[in-house]
Symmetry: C2
Subunit: 637 residues, 2 copies
């Protein structure tokens, strides 16, 4: 068994790709094939395509009416109408009909009068060639219709056919092998046993390859066995144009991929200065490019986009990416790691005239943050990072125009936000909710900085015992603010089903494994407040420093058995089937600048809060009161 | 046979669509179906999709290394290393392996030393939960992965599978019938006889429907027979979700479509205030939407985009269009027709920091201009039009970033431009040529107005007998200008093969049917100059006022027999197999501002002009001299 290779190289992204392309250069050649024009949508022309015939094929009527001999119409006027004889001076034509000598002009149907006996009367002369589409007006035989390297659109198909072209030479669609490896892999839908990981990256690659114009073939997962993986790779490099081998690229005990590729061919790069996605392998086997992609989904995605996509593009002739790029103001400081180029997932929206980008989770495993992201911003390795308020380029994965109709919410998370995100675009087509979860206090700071339209919060004022309004008054001073009423919900202690440790209240939390929420979360502030009231020091709570980012994550940890208790809301406990000891009721509302209330997408947000469908869903979830959901409270300052 | 209906309504576009949607409202409902996630790329979710399991499924190692009991590591330091016992204090784990009690932290492989006998030495303590991905960190069971109405991307497929979801409810792909009608239609590839029109619109619609997420079924062309068309429509409206019937929508003698639709169902609109595309029919038959699209390709395209695409989108759940919109400066005045909303095809490029849009041909038949266009600008019916230099919104049909690397050429046309458009992106990936043909003089004016990078010209200075340089000096005065050398070419008189009229020179053109070039074209100026030298008045030239826009169009008219002679270049005569009487040699070069010479895409343009491949192609075409192609002449002022 080969040695575990702990140390990967740290080659900059561009240099890694350059080395890979150079290693491939002697081997790789785009191939072409003849295809039918009617099946050519989205294919790429291999060379310039010339018209085989004229369009129109002949001089033809551009209007419905009559074809005339222009010389025979001279002198016709309102005061001196002229009668034309059918078959001699004129014939009837519809748009597109041929016009042949002696006829050399067309008069529109609207400008003629029937005599009733087959002839017509005209009241103005026709100029030669009027209302005639000359032969080849649109396309002349021999003219270039499309250049080489052009991706074929619907209109191109129409014009190619009109120009007499029925078959064209196109770039061949590259065939891509996708080989998932790992003994722990289970197929989606399998009954899962402990230690299983659902194999999903290969299915993402299939879709990415299709998007990139390739033909993917996904292999069945291969166990972590040197011989089996070697056979699969050897086989794939023989039959396919590009091979993606998934996982096993790092320094784990069973990460054979690099050793096998070294045995079969040449490893050009193993380890790239990129985060996530460092443990990439770029190799050439049998003259074919092989990309070893790491197992973490975000790493896998970035490794694909940076290394597999450009190679695929060079085969397929398609551009690598159609992602639009926008400038946006960053809401949080992003430090550079100096060692790596970092890809930071961000949410983007337009707030107060500026596009603002809020960074999401940075972990390589956080695939959901990739789903939720509106795009990436790139922090280069040699950069100083970007301060909050600085501008960054964002590579979008949605349409720029959608950002204009997006409600930007930054603050505390509740399932209510998911319901709104789901229902609002149905009720108000084109309007979306973009929500980032940083806790109540973080949300209010973003609102103050003009980075969000609304901040969902649940913050108790200890002095008055009221929720949300006092903190807004305190933070925003004289700026006119409002509160959009959300829901009442029950906070409490979530424990395992049956409450095996017999926890009855805050006081019992000193004798169990607790899981806390992150700093700035309203639930954590509530917990701290309750601890203080009881005179309990955080030091006496095992797990006080163990943080989870949402109610549901806390519930999942308790359900999984790695923690015994955590504070959260009733609906989360119910969703996960946990027992629940109520601690108190609280308000979860939306802070907003009063001037934003008139924005059309905020009105849609409020309309959604008030919709009967939403209230029905909340009732179904349980644990909520929603009597005044969507009501507006103007906050006096 | 029904009466010819000469007069269509002129309903504004939005109102027409609104009426259509209202008429459909009682009938049309999006349908859903269950599909496999692995086949769900680009499909649209019918409702919110919730995770069925946690991801990760359990607390798992976030690094390759060892899982430890954090309490057992306390006190370890550089000065006081600690030995951990295998199986008791630690076990080996790879990334993704489960970490179960008593283990509650992971130490990275890099931070441990093997003792050689199975145990390890550590030099720092491990904090509880370090390097562990908690259960559900990425996705928690019950959490919303995707909202309803979401178009599924590759990354979504990965996360859905990770979240235990293998099947989802998606919007059904609408089935669309496409019925071409017309006795004159020939199938692409058929041997053509007089009066035939190649049926190509239905193939464009097939591709448009596919792009819009629908499943197209194209019917064989139906002859202009009332009964046959009625049968086809009745049949289609029974089986399909949407019916497109192509041509026969206007006021021609055999335009039955509206009458038939009135018999079968309800015609909501016949005639829309839109240009091109006025004779649209919007009807409801058997509760199904039927769109009658005009036969002219550009009208057909616009009718589809404005009326069929929105209906398809409401079925498929996909957005109607992903076309980016940019602001650009208009190079020519566009007047409003007041009566119609007009869609003007434009070329777009970035010149001197501004995006500039040059209008192309406006005819409904000019499908090639749709192929060549970078987008549309819309002149609304109630507007005043837009002056040259005014700003317009352009709906792009290419990527905005491509515009940044596009050489904008406005001026005279030569096949050389087609060759460059084809070859340059191959030689210089990502760099494109956008060329608009308005003749030499028009090109120089555009160059002067900062609307183009280069102006291809062939303009004789009568005083010196030299080409191109004198006119630049005269027009640009003290601005530093240059000329990029193009080709020498032979101008002459093109006549039918065998020269049946025995034309020997300019003097003979008084006794034949001439076809001229448009005003401002260098060839026309040359013709005028030669006429004047011979003392011939234009009035003595039959067809002096008949204008064609390119050499090839002139050649096509002569080849088709509707003209006997026209001036043009040898290569055009050769391409069309015409006889040619040389009149003189001329220079076809590129005027440019000296400061533009350093732009990277201009360097690419010059590089292409100098490339051996281009010179070989010119030789193959014949009729050119290219000794100093790509050389730069700085023009002294």
């Amino acid at each position: 068994m080969p040695r575990r290779n702990l140390y990967l190289t740290n080659i900059p992204v561009e240099e890694a790709l350059e080395r890979f392309k150079n290693a491939l250069e002697p081997h790789v050649k785009a191939q072409t094939e003849d295809i039918e024009v009617i099946h050519s949508l989205d294919r790429v022309t291999a060379s310039a395509i010339l018209a085989r015939c004229n369009s129109p094929l002949y001089d033809s009527a551009a209007m419905d009416g009559v074809a005339v001999v222009s010389a025979a119409t001279h002198g016709a006027s309102e005061t001196c109408p002229l009668t034309l004889k059918h078959g001699v001076d004129f014939i009837h034509v519809d748009t597109g009909d041929p016009v042949k000598p002696p006829f050399d002009a067309v008069i529109m149907a609207e400008d003629i009068n029937d005599t009733g006996c087959g002839d017509i009367i005209i009241r103005s002369a026709a100029a030669a060639w009027q209302h005639i589409r000359p032969v080849g007006e649109d396309v002349v035989q021999g003219e270039m219709i499309l250049p080489g390297g052009h991706k074929i659109r619907p209109i191109d198909i129409g014009v190619l056919l009109s120009g007499g072209v029925t078959r064209i030479s196109a770039q061949k669609r590259p065939e891509v092998a996708i080989i998932p490896t790992g003994t722990e892999l289970a197929e989606p839908g399998d009954t899962l046993k402990e230690g299983d990981i659902i194999e999903s990256n290969s299915r993402m690659f299939e879709a990415l390859v299709r998007k990139g114009g390739g033909l993917p073939t996904r292999f069945a997962p291969v166990a972590d066995d040197y011989g089996l993986i070697k056979d699969a790779l050897q086989n794939a490099a023989r039959r396919f144009d590009l091979v993606l081998v998934s996982a096993g690229t790092s320094a784990g005990r069973e990460d054979y991929t690099a050793s096998i590729l070294r045995e079969l061919g040449e490893v050009t790069v193993h380890g790239v200065a990129m985060k996530p996605g460092k443990p990439v392998i770029l190799a050439v086997v049998n003259g074919k490019p092989v990309v070893g992609v790491p197992g973490y989904p975000v790493s896998a995605y970035l490794a694909y986009e940076n290394f597999a996509a450009p190679i695929l593009a060079s085969f397929s002739g398609l551009p690598e990416s159609c992602a639009p790029i926008v400038r946006a103001v960053l809401t949080r400081r992003l430090v550079s790691s100096f060692k790596h180029r970092e890809y930071v997932r961000v949410k983007v929206g337009r707030v107060g005239g500026r596009l603002v980008a809020s960074p999401l989770a940075r972990g390589a495993g956080a695939a959901m943050s990739l789903v939720r992201a509106d795009g990436f911003c790139v922090i280069n390795r040699d950069s100083e990072g970007v301060e909050a308020g600085g501008e960054v380029d964002v590579i979008l994965n949605r349409r720029p125009q959608d950002l204009e109709h997006t409600v930007v919410s930054i603050g505390s998370h509740d399932l209510l936000l998911d319901l709104i995100a789901d229902m609002m675009p149905n009720l108000y087509p084109g309007i979306h909710l973009s929500s980032t979860h940083v806790g109540s206090m973080g949300g209010l700071l973003s609102l103050k900085n003009g980075e969000a339209h609304i901040a969902p919060i649940h913050l108790l004022d200890e002095a008055t015992g009221t929720y949300n309004i006092q903190i807004i008054k305190k933070l925003f001073g004289k700026s006119p603010m409002a509160l959009i009423k959300g829901v009442g919900r029950v906070q409490g202690i979530m424990v395992q089903k049956g409450n095996p440790l017999g926890i009855a209240g805050i006081g019992d939390l000193t004798r169990c494994r607790y899981i806390n929420r992150q700093r700035g979360a309203g639930t954590r502030l509530l917990f701290d407040y309750r601890l203080k009231s009881k005179g309990i020091s955080p030091e006496n709570i095992t797990g006080y420093d163990r943080e989870a980012a949402t109610h549901m994550s806390v519930a999942a940890a308790i359900n999984g058995g790695s923690a015994d208790a955590g504070m959260g809301i009733l609906s989360a406990a119910m969703a996960m089937g946990l027992d629940f000891i109520p601690v108190g009721d609280e308000r979860y509302d939306f802070a907003i600048a009063a001037e934003s209330l008139e924005l059309s997408h905020i009105r849609a947000f409020i309309g959604t809060l008030k919709s009967p469908g939403l209230l029905a869903k909340l009732k179904e979830l349980g644990g909520y009161t929603a009597d005044n959901c969507g009501e507006i409270v103007i906050i006096d300052c």
